[in-house]
Amino acid sequence: MTPWMRWLHKWVGLLIGLQFVLWMASGLMMGLLPHDKVQGHEFRAHAPAPRAWPADVLAAGEVLKQAGSAQVIVSGWLLDRPVYQALDGKRQRLFDARTGRAVVIDRELARALAVASYSGPGKPQTPILLDWTQEVRDHQARSWRVDFDDAQDTTVYLSAQTGEVLEHRNSTWRLFDVFWMLHIMDYANRSNFNNPLVIGAGIGGLWLALTGVWLLVASFHLREFVPQRWRRARELTVYAPNGSKLRTVKAAAGDSVYVALARNGLQLPSNCGGGQSCGLCEVRYRGVPPAPTAADRAHLSESKLKIGHRLACNLPLDADMEVEVAGGASLWTEHEATVERVSAVTPFLREIVLKPAQPPGPEYQPGAYLQVHVPDYELPCDRIVRPDEHHGDWAALDLPDTLSNREAVRRSYSLSLPIDATDGRLTLLARFSPGRQDRKRQPPGKGSTYLYTLQPGDRVNFSGPFGDFAIRPNAREKVFIGGGAGMAPLRAMIHSLLSQGAQERIHYWYGARVLRDAPYVDEMASLAQRNANFSWHLVLSEAAECDDALVRGLVHEAAHDRLLKDHPALLDCDFYLCGPPAMLAATRQLLHRLGVPDEQVAFDDFKI
């Protein structure tokens, strides 16, 4: 339930978030602006003291002769002049109480009436007659507007029918009115708070608040209210996946494993910051693990849960604990390497060979990935190295003039060759992520921009290796299916298998858009020629250049039609998948339909 609430909260937050900020900001401002000033009381003169109604005037009933029709006739004073107001429906008329003649509120009178109602330091400007104005929007008839040149820009509005002062408006009110408009979301008339827009946003906001209260209750634990130093000390021991003990850190009881490690300088992979929503900070519990929570189930597979994998941000340290961390010691360490060679394999796939300062160990296995530390930078666009033969491809991109990254980030790249084939060099394959081309607002990828400016001799920092995508040590038939930059880990795995003399059948189905985008085509073809048990199939999704040697279509469909559909022992095959999200999802669905058990499908999800 909670992951679902979290999902809902996040998406409604995305939709309503801005309005929520506006509600809070405008609500705060309306609370801060003094009500008296908003109401225009500041420079409003006191009402004149009541005075005796004179005897030498017409009786109220006699005004009816002039007015014709009225429901109410009421006495009043227009400065020093006794008058009668006749109300006839919505119409109001004014008559001199002595003569019975209709009174017209002219410019001079309007000015005098405005001055009489005003106690501030300003001087009146020439009155202006208005048919209707937003500033006294409820008054549906003509009005006089008299501006005063005080610091508040006070304006006095009078009814053009009766000379009554309608409102004193000032700059405080005008500011208030803007916040009021933002608050009630009636941008045209600023008066109707029953409009569908605000009702819709309000219901969205209510959802946001309800799910928020749910999450508040679900995400607080009693122990968080106790200061850290009053809580018992616990020991958290961290192991590498191979069982070697790495470190023991001290932590306060009740902290999550994620927080405890972060306090000790071990930043587990995470994008959500410990909110159980990205699913990256997994660790393996040594011993009898606590029952998985809903968040664990949402992010980790059943088989992982069974062997004790849990999200570190959701795993409280109630007692001393031992956990295994994928990547182990490498999480703490930062390595240095020198760029040795950069080659543009295709226009937007680049092979970068790094020579690490320390020789890499066996944990750099095929399928593993490194986190390259991308520093903050601001570079002119032409710092991206572009070989001549790819100039046309790059010219088609609409890149900004300056490429910048304001805070250091880490980006993950898989090894694309086994280290024993490269004499200890680390080979990466980086796809250039151009950002959204239809809109300027999403600039090119921060990591790929950085990598594409590298030249031999440059220094690079990285952490790693990480990941659990690895070849299983068995002799079963293997099917590799990949696309795009998914070439990298699959290529490393295949090289590793073949160089170690694997005898089982190995298929590699790789999809690209056009031939020009497909990397290592010749290399794969020559591997296939030299190894009878390895077959290589390039599948292109765009028709133009397909000849007999190439297959056209989507890679998972092609693999299905030509291999899997009629495979006699499909359930004895192991599958290794890596590629763009859509391709990966479609392939996993296909294998699921074909009845291949999940344990036999290994995949690396790049998410982009």
Partner: protein, 235 residues
């Protein structure tokens, strides 16, 4: 630690402080937007259509009126049910302005209005079908009409909204229309502006503090939205 971590922490802890108030703001806000303001005002419950004054009605003269009722500062000629009346205000030293109704034909004072007159006024104004179940002489104004002058007549109807009309015994004016939707609105408005006593002060310190924290809360949430939608890995 990462900014995402701090954003989440801030949002969570600020949420602990104003989360419940934010929920109350949303509940009260949705109620106030969903129920049309005209209904809250009770426009559907009472009509204030006045009949026109007749030109040929015999009335006592102005001089007679001023003579009989000293210190008049204001005169209003209007209709009350079937008769024409003067509503006058008299200024008396050491006393509040006092309004009274005078029968325009005879010049006799008819206020304070009697129960039967008020019942007739209520029947005429009321647009529903329900019966009157109570008429009370109110000397201490209840919360729902706290700003109106006492004494008043309260007329209760047996409808589903527990409608109450309040009449002035001095002018015969319908001072207020109250019904359950209005009462809910007022109750929720109290939570919206956090003035639990008068339900009217929008500049109170509690509201100012809560709204400031609420703004921080909303901003931390918006900040967090950025992190919640970020990708996982790139290659």
């Amino acid at each position: 630690m990462k900014p995402a971590f701090w954003a989440r922490r801030a949002h969570k802890w600020i949420g602990l402080i104003v989360g419940v108030q934010a929920l109350l703001w949303m509940i009260s806000g949705v109620y106030m937007t969903v129920v049309p303001l005209e209904i809250i005002h009770g426009d559907h419950l009472a009509h204030a259509h006045n009949q026109s004054l007749a030109a040929a009605t015999p009335r006592i003269g102005q001089a007679a009126l001023l003579d009989r009722y000293p210190n008049i500062t204001s005169i209003k000629l209007k209709r009350l049910l079937d008769q024409e009346v003067y509503e006058i205000k008299q200024e008396k030293i050491g006393q509040d302005k006092q309004a009274s109704l005078i029968d325009a034909r005879s010049g006799a004072k008819i206020t304070p209005l009697e129960r039967a007159t008020v019942v007739a006024l209520a029947r005429k104004a009321y647009q529903g079908e329900a019966e009157i179940i109570g008429v009370e002489w109110v000397t201490k104004a209840p919360q729902e009409v706290a700003k109106r002058p006492v004494p008043m007549w309260a007329v209760r109807f047996a409808d589903s909204g527990a409608t109450t009309f309040y009449f002035s015994p001095d002018t015969g004016d319908l001072l207020a229309r109250r019904h359950s939707l209005w009462r809910w609105f007022d109750f929720l408005w109290m939570f919206h502006i956090m003035d639990y006593q008068e339900r009217s002060d929008v500049n109170n310190t509690l509201l100012r503090i809560a709204a400031s924290v609420g703004l921080l809360f909303a901003l931390s949430g918006a900040w967090l939205v950025f992190y919640s939608f970020r990708w996982r890995r790139t290659a």
